[in-house]
């Protein structure tokens, strides 16, 4: 097992890597548990990223990821390797997330509290291209504020933006995972960005006016 792990860490070309993974899948299909464990190790982080990008609830993510790998193990013998193992795995992950959300009837997280003026200026500072690098505490707060804004977006927009911009999935990968045309993914991504910016502007620029109106009233 250790020998396999060290061999896997060697820099190999993409094609060789693909062939190596095919062999690993074949070994796992023939019942070799160590091979399957290696497949889990290789893909666990991306599956975690994918699932947390869709569920957005850290407490549920680990359980769903375990369930994904269990399903993959059970149906591995039926996988014919026509598609890449990763694509098949990610599709199962997406379906498992949607099943989970449907069964649990999970309501999206809603943050009722609005942003304070101070938070607004900090977020503006972090996002602004000409501002110097923000402190780590400012960045942590900005992350929290971003999370709140993301919750205001439709689930489909949020998923695409997180998977693409945060978890690092390519447009091609997203098209394969979500069974969409590559151009459709691009258009949806671009529109999701516009909607995120709408939320951002409403939060940033309408807040001081609302407060002023409130004071006058």
């Amino acid at each position: 097992m250790a020998a396999t792990a060290s061999a896997l860490s060697l820099p190999v070309s993409r094609r060789e890597k693909g062939e190596e993974e095919r062999q690993l899948v074949q070994r796992a299909q023939s019942g070799e548990e160590a091979a399957f464990e290696e497949l889990i190790r290789r893909h666990q982080q991306r599956v975690f990223g994918l699932v947390s990008g869709i569920l957005r609830r850290r407490e549920d993510v680990e359980d769903v990821v375990q369930q994904v790998f269990l399903k993959v193990f059970v149906s591995l013998k039926r996988f014919d390797q026509r598609a890449a193992f990763s694509t098949w795995l990610y599709k199962i992950s997406v379906n498992e997330c949607w099943d989970y959300l449907r069964k649990k009837k999970v309501r999206p997280l809603v943050y009722e509290a609005d942003l304070s003026e101070e938070q607004v200026s900090r977020l503006d500072g972090v996002v602004s291209a000409d501002q110097p690098a923000a402190s780590s505490s400012d960045r942590a707060e900005a992350r929290d504020l971003l999370e709140r804004m993301m919750e205001k977006l439709p689930a489909q927009d949020r998923e695409l933006l997180v998977l693409k911009e945060v978890e690092g999935f390519s447009v091609q990968e997203l098209a394969e995972i979500l069974d969409l045309n590559v151009n459709t993914v691009k258009v949806r991504l671009f529109r999701a960005r516009a909607r995120l910016m709408d939320v951002y502007r409403r939060r940033l620029h309408s807040k001081p006016e609302q407060q002023a109106e409130g004071k006058e009233g």
Partner: protein
């Protein structure tokens, strides 16, 4: 190619031309090359909507760069998953031991129910047959149980005949 310089929506906000959205996303990612890139560059000179949308998209990318990708679950995670898989396999195997017994039991129950239905329908059939037989017998016996009322004599000869019958009966 759209030459719309005032591409605004109902809220008077600049919006991108729909036919350029995919190319604008490529431009943002830095993957737009060749004639498509020059076509978009030409379009951007004249389209304020697409220019504004591209600037917005760039801000959104900076905004999303704040977020951190999910952390690696760690080396122990694969072991946890494998342990769960083994546990599930054991429980499914123990279920599969009882599966034939459960299946036989269900078959037996179904057969018993079928036989019961057959017996009940047979019994009901017999009962209805018996009831109809009884009514037929009752109809046939009716004249024996209830004697026919003698008809009244219509003339003198009938009266004499009746008297002769009665006297025969007494003897």
């Amino acid at each position: 190619m759209s030459m719309n310089s005032e591409n605004r929506n109902a809220e008077n906000k600049y919006v991108a031309c729909p036919q350029y959205e995919a190319a604008l996303e490529d431009q943002l990612q830095g993957t737009l090359r060749g004639p498509e890139a020059s076509m978009l560059a030409e379009h951007l000179v004249t389209c304020a909507g697409c220019r504004a949308a591209l600037e917005d998209a760039a801000v959104s990318a900076r905004l999303l760069a704040i977020a951190e990708p999910s952390a690696d679950p760690g080396a122990g995670f694969s072991r946890i998953v494998m342990a769960r898989i083994r546990q599930e396999l054991v429980s499914s195997e123990s279920k599969s031991i009882w599966l034939p017994v459960v299946s036989v039991a269900w078959r037996f129950a179904a057969s018993a129910a079928f036989v019961l239905v057959l017996l009940l329908s047979f019994d009901l059939g017999r009962h209805s047959q018996f009831v109809s037989d009884q009514s037929v017998i009752a109809e046939n016996r009716l004249p024996e149980i209830v004697p026919e009322r003698p008809s009244l004599p219509t003339n003198r000869d009938d009266v004499l005949l009746m008297m002769a019958d009665t006297s025969h009966g007494k003897q």
